[in-house]
């Protein structure tokens, strides 16, 4: 075996990257086009379709809604997920195994089914307002990621450290905040970012839960494409891409992306 990768391996890897990158290049190109229709390569360069995003009130509203839902949903998921992950790891021996699986279920169920079920139960069944239903849906959607990522962080946490603090006179609840939480900080940040991005980019669940007057950005993009064929959708997509990339860059800077491989 030589240290140099096999030429076929290089070729396959190059193809994979090519197919991953090409759509992104096309979208960015189309967004910059000066034409009134989607085209690639761009004809003339212009930022007017980016301006157009903010000229259309539906886009303005849905960007705000998306950010609100992503932020609040992630926050609630953390408030539920951190104690859940803590309990699952702290009492791993005592708790039944299926309890951990319970928190991963929303990932295992197809999102379409999940969204439809939420529509039937929340919006139709319980008459929950659209925004609240969206928030609940997104919280449940990102909860598995939160529990999973923080569990990974807690798996390497030595709980005798917590016992040491308690033996030194620190009350258990206080110990959680002063000893446990600071040591899984990286996991909490990673979970926040991952959950935020997942919520921001979600289509399937939102599709069922958006209602009159309230929608999320990805749903608004779909709606826009059905009526118009101008490059606005491309520029919105670029905007969404940049939001995601910015968030990922923060992750990469603070923790590295290795946690995603777990």
């Amino acid at each position: 075996m030589s240290d140099r990768p096999h030429p076929i391996l290089i070729g396959v890897a190059a193809l994979v990257y090519f197919f991953l990158m090409v759509p992104l290049v096309i979208v960015v190109g189309a967004a910059l086009s000066d034409t009134t229709y989607l085209t690639f390569p761009p004809q003339g360069l212009s930022l007017r379709w980016f301006e157009n995003i903010f000229a259309i009130s539906a886009f303005r509203r849905t960007i705000v809604t998306s950010l609100q839902i992503a932020f609040l949903g992630t926050l609630i998921a953390l408030l539920i997920g951190i104690p859940a992950a803590y309990a699952l790891n702290r009492f791993r021996v005592e708790l039944p195994r299926w309890l951990g699986t319970l928190f991963v279920l929303p990932i295992l169920v197809p999102e379409i089914v999940f969204g439809f079920a939420l529509l039937k139960s929340l919006t139709v069944g319980a008459g929950v307002p659209v925004f609240v239903a969206l928030l609940i849906g997104h919280t449940l959607l990102v909860l598995p990621y939160v529990v999973r990522v923080i569990s990974a962080s807690l798996a390497s946490f030595d709980f005798s450290i917590e016992e040491a603090a308690i033996s030194l006179g620190s009350a258990p609840v206080k110990t959680f905040f002063t000893i446990v939480l600071p040591n899984v900080r990286a996991g909490v940040i990673a979970a926040f970012i991952l959950a935020f991005i997942t919520s921001l980019n979600d289509v399937s669940v939102s599709l069922f839960l958006t209602g009159p007057g309230i929608s999320t950005l990805p749903i608004q993009i779909l709606a826009h494409v059905e009526q118009f064929f101008d490059p606005t959708v491309a520029s919105v997509s670029v905007l969404l891409m940049f939001l995601t990339v910015a968030v990922m860059a923060v992750v990469e800077r603070t923790l590295g992306l290795t946690f995603l491989a777990k």
């Binding site: 308690i166 030194l168 006179g169 258990p172």
Partner: protein
């Protein structure tokens, strides 16, 4: 400051598993007591019960007359030293040591002073501002020790504190622990599976097996006068031979095993009951080539070299025995010999029915 610890008839059950059965143990003020046994013997459970991480099914634990049984851990005021050090990774060495003082509401300047003084005592004052991750195993354990001692606890407990260190450091550290414990006069409970460690630093050792206390005494007594076959085997009495007394003539007691008679001087052994077990270490059976010697006839098997002696696997009518022979005259496998018990190296145990 220093207080006696009393464990009164404590049992701990997990579901139907009896982890600890009716354990009573008193540790005097200032004494260092080791809980010694193999894993699963209940020693760690006992420590966790005293610390309050577990609750006993029945019984009570008192420290200096104060009932700890229902008290939460953080109010028990017990210094703990863990096997894996359990230092706070996000705090500096100094902050680690000062942590307990902070919980006690001591002013920052005062806690810094006291923590530094304690670090000085364990020889780590120079590393006060380091992160624990940058320390060696021995240094980490010293920090852990300083952190537990600085709160001046009435009781100090060690959970296998040296198991993660290499052999040489282990010996140095146990001397250091003993010196600090002596100097402070802190009542201490020390959990270990290492017999040498337990015997070398303890005032008294509690040998445990399957959730029960087998014997609790000074190391010298445990080593020479084990109370039962479990402890005897544990401390290295590898030969345990059952005997029946057939005749008593003054000081001479004649006893029989597997058809072989042996005359024992009662004065050398103490009281000899009618049925008993003779327990010896390999050193306690003298290998004699004199056919007239007063011993058990045996055929030598495999010989191994121990440095200070040769060890022989011996076949006798009473079963397989192990004896040590002199270095000057190594004997060949198959040699017929007599194994002569040396009374000062033997002990008499009461016969045990079920063992």
């Amino acid at each position: 400051m220093t207080q006696p610890l009393d464990i009164n008839a404590v049992s701990a059950h997990y579901g139907t598993t009896k982890v600890l059965e009716d354990l009573s143990l008193s540790v005097q003020a200032g004494e260092l007591v080791s809980l010694l046994g193999a894993s699963g013997c209940g020693k760690t459970t006992t420590l966790r019960l005293i610390a309050g991480f577990l609750s006993p099914t029945s019984g009570s634990i008192t420290l200096g007359g104060r009932d700890l049984t229902r008290l939460p851990t953080h109010k028990r005021d017990i210094g703990l030293v863990f096997q894996n050090y359990a230092l706070f990774p996000h705090l500096t060495v100094l902050e680690n040591v000062a942590f307990g003082l902070k919980q006690r509401g001591i002013a920052p300047a005062e806690r810094r002073k006291r923590a530094l003084a304690m670090l000085e005592r364990v020889g780590l004052a120079a590393l006060a501002d380091r992160a624990p991750g940058a320390l060696s195993g021995g240094q980490k354990q010293r920090v852990a020790l300083a952190r537990a001692l600085v709160i001046e606890p009435p009781l100090l407990m060690f959970d296998e504190p040296l198991s993660n260190l290499d052999a040489k450091l282990r010996v140095d550290m146990r001397v250091e622990i003993r010196q600090l414990q002596r100097a402070n006069g802190t009542t201490s409970v020390y959990v270990t599976h290492d017999q040498e460690e337990a015997f070398s630093i303890s005032d008294r050792v509690a040998i445990m097996n399957a959730g029960r206390l087998m014997q609790f005494d000074r190391p010298e007594v445990l080593y020479r006068r084990p109370a039962n076959t479990f402890v005897a085997r544990f401390v290295g009495f590898e030969n345990i031979i059952p005997f029946k007394v057939t005749a008593r003539e003054g000081d001479r007691v004649t006893a029989e095993t597997a058809g072989m008679a042996l005359r024992l001087p009662q004065s050398a052994y103490g009281t000899i009951p009618d049925t008993f077990l003779l327990a010896t270490r390999p050193d306690g059976l003298v290998v004699s080539t004199d056919p007239a010697a007063e011993g058990l006839p045996a055929t030598l098997g495999l010989r191994t070299y121990l440095g200070r002696a040769y060890q022989y696997q011996c076949e006798t009518p009473a079963g397989h025995l192990i004896a040590n022979g002199s270095l000057t005259a190594p004997l060949e496998s198959g040699t017929a010999v007599k194994l002569v018990p040396a009374p000062e190296q033997c002990t008499i145990l009461a016969a045990e029915g079920a063992r």
